[in-house]
């Protein structure tokens, strides 16, 4: 028996002689690697050439793998190769996916941006539908809105305001930079006007909007 497992002349042991121990270690290594289930020592011996000692070889192999990325571990009466427990995190891969904000979320965000500070009830009144808790949570999580002061009205509802993060993301210096309805219309974003005969009121409406809700919330103004 030799101490040089890699020496080629030892790979061809004389007929009927047991392979060298390093060679047996190689064999067990290959068997454990390729096997779909843990392998018992009996099975190793059955598969290796006559005279090989699987029990000894697998213990040596186990020592060789100590501290490595994979380990030779006993599983009941059998043996298997397993990933080192501290490297389990390598078996998952994070992928980030960028999705467009949902319609509900972007509308809610737009209302807060244009009307801040703004309570949930006010958002619902403007959107005409209930605002799901998830929608606000999502915007809070994105750090595009935050909770502002409570409104001094019955129930003291919380208000929402947009954040610096929001301004950075949308490239705005402050929320007042957002174009008003007139500008939106001029930009073609409000093309579909209804056939409203009372169009004379349009001008007033826009003026109202910029101040909407402000009356109840004077303390927010600087």
């Amino acid at each position: 028996m030799t101490d040089h497992p890699e020496d080629d002349q030892n790979k061809e042991p004389p007929l009927f002689d047991a392979p060298s121990l390093p060679e047996q270690e190689r064999m067990v290594e290959a068997i454990l690697f390729a096997s779909v289930a843990p392998v018992s020592v009996a099975e190793m011996n059955a598969r290796m050439p006559h005279g090989a000692d699987g029990a000894l070889a697998v213990v040596r192999l186990r020592q060789r793998y100590e501290g490595r990325g994979v380990r030779v571990v006993p599983v009941g009466e059998a043996w298997a190769i397993r990933t080192a427990p501290d490297l389990g995190y390598l078996m998952s891969r994070e992928s980030t996916e960028t999705r467009k904000l949902s319609r509900a979320a972007i509308e809610t965000l737009a209302i807060i941006a244009y009307h801040q500070p703004c309570t949930r009830a006010e958002i619902e009144e403007i959107r005409g539908v209930a605002v799901g808790r998830g929608t606000l949570d999502q915007l809070l999580e994105l750090e595009w809105i935050r909770v502002g002061r409570r409104r001094m009205t019955p129930g003291r509802p919380v208000t929402f305001v947009v954040t610096q993060e929001f301004l950075d993301h949308f490239g705005l210096e402050n929320a007042r930079d957002l174009p008003g309805l007139k500008e939106l219309r001029a930009a073609g974003l409000l093309q579909s006007r209804p056939l409203d005969t009372s169009s004379g009121e349009g001008g007033d409406k826009e003026a109202d909007q910029s101040d909407m809700f402000k009356g109840t919330d004077a303390e927010e103004d600087p």
């Binding site: 390729a34 289930a37 998952s92 994070e94 996916e97 999705r99 979320a105 930009a187």
Partner: protein, 264 residues
């Protein structure tokens, strides 16, 4: 030039060997993968390097083979016959002195091309065999028996552009301007409201009274409110008539509608 020199003299024994080979070939003509395959097999019987093969002799071998196949009434596929015709032509080009008026490749060039094709086919067969003789996955070497599942953790980030934001706002405000389907509560009086009012007032209507006088205060200046109140009070009156509480009458078209308590 060597091909023509070699064409003259295959030895007798070689010729006999060829014949024997050809006869055994006929038996399994099905086994050939086309005329080029057959030609390559015939060429090997010349027992020379393919580079030094006699194309003339090969053409003769092939044509003999085709003749024999016919004699044995073996059906040959069309491409074998096409090859035979081409080889007969090539043979004539190689044997006759070149015709200076004729364009295109010379007989030697055609022969060289055929020899090249045979050599290339043989080379491909050779490397194919070497390829298949390599250690193969699942036969000589093996992959991991218990691979671990790679978990895909998907992290989602959301984004929106300023345009999205403005469009969303515009959408909401535009929706506001489309009010026709929304009941404007402060301009509408429902029949239930009118009925409620009239039930309280009807007790005082002992004589015929204009329905218009039952209009609530403040509902007569705004045309929209007046229309709604008139309609709801008229409908409420009809309900009260139906219930047997009042009488209703109208002198002529567009005359005032009058109501009176019904005293039984």
């Amino acid at each position: 030039m060597s091909s023509r020199a070699m064409a003259e003299g295959p030895t007798v024994s070689a010729e006999v060997a060829q014949r024997i080979a050809a006869e055994t070939l006929i038996v399994d003509v099905e086994g050939f993968e086309g005329p080029l395959d057959l030609l390559l097999t015939l060429a090997r019987s010349q027992k020379v390097d393919l580079r030094h093969i006699s194309i003339l002799a090969l053409a003769r071998q092939y044509l003999e083979f085709v003749e024999k196949a016919r004699a044995f009434r073996i059906e040959l596929a069309a491409d074998y016959l096409v090859m035979a015709a081409w080889l007969a032509y090539l043979k004539s080009r190689l044997l006759l002195p070149p015709d200076p008026t004729e364009d295109g490749p010379s007989g030697e060039e055609l022969a060289a091309q055929l020899a090249f094709q045979l050599e290339r086919l043989e080379a491909m067969r050779d490397v194919a065999a070497r390829l298949m003789a390599r250690d193969q996955k699942g036969r000589d070497f093996f992959v991991r028996g218990v691979p671990e599942r790679l978990e895909r953790v998907r992290k989602v980030t959301y984004t929106a552009s300023l345009m999205d934001l403005m469009q969303a706002y515009a959408r909401i405000r535009t929706r506001d301007e489309f009010r026709p389907f929304v009941m404007d509560r402060d301009r509408v009086m429902t029949m239930e409201e009118a009925l409620e009012r009239m039930r309280g007032l009807i007790g005082f209507a002992g004589s015929w009274t204009d329905l218009a006088s039952y209009m609530p205060e403040g509902w007569d200046s705004d045309p929209a409110r007046r229309r709604s109140a008139t309609a709801s009070h008229f409908a409420a009156s009809l309900e009260l008539v139906k219930a047997g509480k009042i009488l209703i009458r109208q002198g002529e078209t567009f005359a005032p509608i009058e109501i009176k308590r019904r005293d039984d």
